[in-house]
Subunit: 136 residues, 4 copies
């Protein structure tokens, strides 16, 4: 399993009138963490896109246990457990950075498509980098 | 089953550099449709909140089949099928308004909590209104 | 002067913990209204972009007089007063749809650029359509 | 003058179909930087709000010189130059973190209001902290 811990801080723009992070914002925190996870093993989303491959989200799931508050610091852990065949699965857990209490968990699934939105094979470069990290 | 069709239009702010709606935005379209569904049967989220009850999202799920584009018109159908015991389940389907092709489907689950974030019974007024619509 | 009235409704995603619309969201309401204003006189932003011309915002200004609330309906009036030479100026006023009280006013200025982000002349088609509406 | 440099990184959620940050997002970057500026001199927005004082934005202005891209790192400098009488003025400049090229500049003005949205005096604690930093 490859995993990465990414810190985010909650700002006013994220908070709704219940005084907690609006639920869809956690998907944005997932994206931040995923981008940094891939970068940490040498995969730049910018470079993949320049090579004509995109990774659209094809499913997302979130369980919200506790609502994070303004100025709270969160740890967003993302993890890849399986070498992708056609699709890439990424799991996320969001914790209060201070108390380590779990606030949110979820996953996203990504396809690999070309510029014409046609599914393509997982690029060999990505497989090689994930393989090097011990994924099977 | 109670259902409601809500129209949304995609604007520039919703579109990412793949030229399609950024995935978390569909959860916002779900929210619009859900608010209008509840309003259509006499349930105002504003009034519920003024009575001290909130309906935070406790889980969300989305399947993305096709990406909507700038200036596209979408129909966001939301539906309640079961009289809530402790939690309220709402299902969504998003279609191209013109072609009726399915773009996204998903669901959200909501708790009923008081100001101190403690779970409370589903307010009788809500049960009555849903019951009147034939839900069981 | 060309002007257009566009209705928007405030949803939960727009509201911050002061219980009012988060200030940057009004710029998104401006964008909705601007898109519809242009469309009303035959200018489709999608078509302009397909022709290789983009209209990035180069300045924006907002005065916030009153904060709009959840489920409130707003009227977003946008207006063009001067035939653009190199830049397009658009003015906005946001009113409570019910009371007509002014909540926000502001403006945006737009450049005309090509795919390489180089300034270009205002497309003749746009000048002609604005001219037809009586702008000078 | 009191100033603070805050780093932000651009993610996919921020980027529009021109491949640059959607213009209203810079106001969110301003907010991040402002929150950290105030925190750096001992002013917690959370604590001010708990004391019943809010600082709504009453005007905002932005000049956009260059569009930031996905995965770009930005430095958002915020500065307070004048001891607030009734209103707090904050200036911002956003630079490419690498090249120090200026991308965006702007300002926000904030009122001080109580829970009933009535203007109040600038809290003495804030005046004292700004005064200690040498503001006049």
């Amino acid at each position: 399993m490859i995993s990465f811990d990414h810190k985010v801080k909650v700002y006013y723009r994220d908070i709704d009138q219940m005084g907690i992070v609006y639920h869809s914002r956690y998907l944005e925190y997932f994206e931040e963490s995923r981008t940094e996870l891939l970068k940490s093993i040498g995969i730049s989303v910018t470079k993949i896109e320049k090579a004509g491959i995109m990774l659209p989200v094809i499913s997302s799931h979130c369980e919200y246990f506790k609502g994070a508050c303004f100025e709270q610091e969160l740890k967003v852990t993302s993890a890849i457990s399986i070498l992708p065949k056609a699709k890439l699965d990424i799991d996320y857990s969001i914790f209060c950075a201070k108390s380590s209490i779990l606030y949110v968990k979820g996953y996203t699934t990504h396809a690999f498509v070309n510029k014409y939105n046609k599914p393509v094979r997982v690029p060999k470069m990505i497989i090689d980098l994930l393989d090097k990290e011990g994924l099977m």
